[in-house]
């Protein structure tokens, strides 16, 4: 067995000194200070946190009561159908919005791809795309749509669509830049026109990946549409806003369950299609790309 006395004869090399941990320690202290500062500066009334335990239990009971009532009796059947109708409206809003953004993002993607467009066009397009990405959908909804379209799902869909252009355009451009240049050269060598090169050599290579991005964005937009609802774009968000202001806990419980079930259902259908499309092409939506698609 190893014992200090019998340490090998080869131990003539001196032991290197342990590197200093000062830098690491400073980073940790810095983070702690940042966190502590934020805890104070956030103006949060931390004592109110007890409300979770006092009211939380009561509200949970009320929600459960709503859920376990016979769903075919009045007024619970109405609660279920209303929640379901409004959730569907949100899904429609997300679908139309995503499709709108997807269509508009195609030309943007081509313009922002370095191997397709000139350097100036690429730079300008990227700035535009990044600018769109930096604006929350809610802001689009507020400043552009509500004054023109009025409150309603159309404004919501358009806000989601505009918001999706930035992300989808960027991801499309990145996908285009990653294509195999072989087919492009082959098409050029055979004297193909510019449009047919873009259509057949570029677009057909990235199509599966791009459609997967669209579907992923659709899944994200379902959640985003709920947010828009709270400021009046309709759908499940509007319903939630009303219910919470009236504290209708029984109905809130039902509505939350409908949201969870429908979202998980749509997610798994969309995810299934994504995997099916992608597996045939040998590509994959990476975790990093999912991160990008969310912003």
């Amino acid at each position: 067995m190893t014992s200090p006395a019998t340490a090998s004869a080869r131990s003539t090399t001196p032991r290197p000194p342990e590197p200093s941990k000062t830098k690491e320690t400073l980073v940790w202290i810095g983070l702690l200070v940042l966190f502590g500062g934020a805890v104070v500066l956030s103006n949060a009334r931390w004592s109110e946190i007890s409300g979770i335990f006092t009211d939380g239990w009561r509200y949970l009971q009320l929600m459960a009561e709503g859920l376990f009532q016979n769903p075919f009796s009045e007024p619970y059947s109405e609660y279920w159908t209303l929640a379901f109708d409004r959730m569907l409206e949100s899904v429609y809003m997300a679908w139309v919005g995503t499709l709108l953004g997807a269509v508009l993002s195609i030309p943007m993607g081509f313009l922002a791809a370095r191997n397709v467009s000139g350097p100036v066009t690429v730079q300008v397009t990227r700035i535009v795309l990044n600018a769109i990405r930096a604006v929350p959908e809610l802001v689009f909804a507020i400043i552009l749509m509500l004054p023109i379209f009025g409150f309603g799902p159309v404004a919501g869909a358009i806000a989601l669509g505009v918001g999706a252009i930035g992300t989808l355009g960027k991801l499309t451009a990145e996908a285009l830049e990653g294509i195999d240049p072989g087919p492009v050269e082959a098409a050029k060598a055979s004297g193909a026109g510019r449009f047919s090169i873009l259509r057949w050599a570029y677009w057909s290579q990235v199509l599966p990946e791009v459609i997967a991005f669209w579907l992923y964005r659709f899944e994200i937009n379902i959640r985003a549409s709920a947010v828009l609802g709270v400021i009046g774009a309709g759908g499940i968000g509007s319903l939630l806003g009303q219910l919470f202001s009236r504290r209708e806990w029984e109905q809130i419980g039902i509505t939350l369950v409908v949201i969870i079930v429908v979202t998980i259902l749509v997610d798994s259908i969309s995810g299934g299609i994504r995997h099916h499309i992608i597996s045939g092409s040998g590509q994959k939506v990476t975790t990093e790309e999912k991160v990008e698609a969310t912003l």
Partner: protein, 256 residues
């Protein structure tokens, strides 16, 4: 002492890894296991430390029953058995010292492991293990910056830091160039001689097997087909174990 009595290992997909193996390996022996890939060498080694569960039969290491051990007992048994891998299996994004201390994780309380707050003794043990394989100057280097041979020596140090009574090595030199392979084998032999650690090494180079093995075990289709000294293991024996005539790929020196 390692004792296998009629040990059979059947994988969930139906493949038989070991087929009724009986073996007795006394303390301090240097054993080389040879055989084609898929002959059960790897399974044998992984069965001894419980990484592969025994389907039937009994297996004891130093009197501790591996085949019937609970998860907790198994971890205690494994902490006394060092293991070395073909692909080194170091954590590349951390220092050599942290890698070596991983060998002692079984005895380190959870909070210390979580914070990486190693005690002086734990570090001392790490230094000693690194000194024994002659790589102490790299203690605070990132593992990713080491060459293959250096990484394998760190891996040996990690196993040594466990204070093992048994050392298992699964094709430890298959990813190394011939001179480095010789050096790693010499390290293993020296450790076996100096510390009396029972050592089991999987090899497919027959010249290495002959040169280093006190005892050579030949495996084929999950069965032990040869068990003798290195001197007894001539070409005819290897041809029987491999079931084919020997080629240049079977010796390390001809690969140089």
């Amino acid at each position: 002492m390692i004792e296998l009595k009629n040990v059979t290992v059947r994988y969930p997909n139906g493949v038989v890894g070991l087929d009724g193996v009986d073996l007795e390996i006394p303390d301090g022996q240097f054993v080389v296991v040879v055989g084609l890939s898929g002959a059960g060498k790897s399974t044998l080694i992984r069965t001894i430390n419980g990484l592969v569960p025994v389907t039937s039969g009994t297996l004891t290491v130093d009197g501790m029953d591996v085949s019937g051990a609970s998860k907790r007992e198994l971890r205690a048994i494994r902490s006394k058995i060092g293991m070395i891998f073909q692909s080194f299996n170091l954590v590349k994004r951390t220092s050599v010292m942290n890698n070596v201390i991983m060998g002692q994780l079984h005895h380190i309380p959870g909070w210390r492991a979580l914070l990486g707050a190693w005690t002086k003794e734990q570090k001392e043990k790490g230094y000693q293990a690194l000194e024994r394989v002659g790589i102490v100057e790299k203690t605070w280097t990132r593992a990713s910056e080491l060459s293959g041979g250096q990484q394998q020596r760190v891996a040996i140090a990690r196993a040594l830091a466990q204070d093992p009574s048994v050392m298992l090595a699964d094709e430890p030199v298959a990813s190394l160039d011939p001179p480095t392979a010789q050096m790693v084998m010499k390290d293993l032999q020296r450790i076996n001689r100096e510390l009396g650690i029972t050592t089991l090494v999987n090899l497919h180079f027959l010249d290495l097997a002959r040169a280093y093995g006190d005892r050579v075990i030949g495996m084929r289709d999950g069965k032990v087909v040869f068990d003798g000294t290195g001197a007894e293991a001539d070409d005819a024996v290897f041809e029987k174990i491999y079931g084919r005539s020997l080629t240049a790929d079977d010796t390390l020196s001809s690969n140089a």
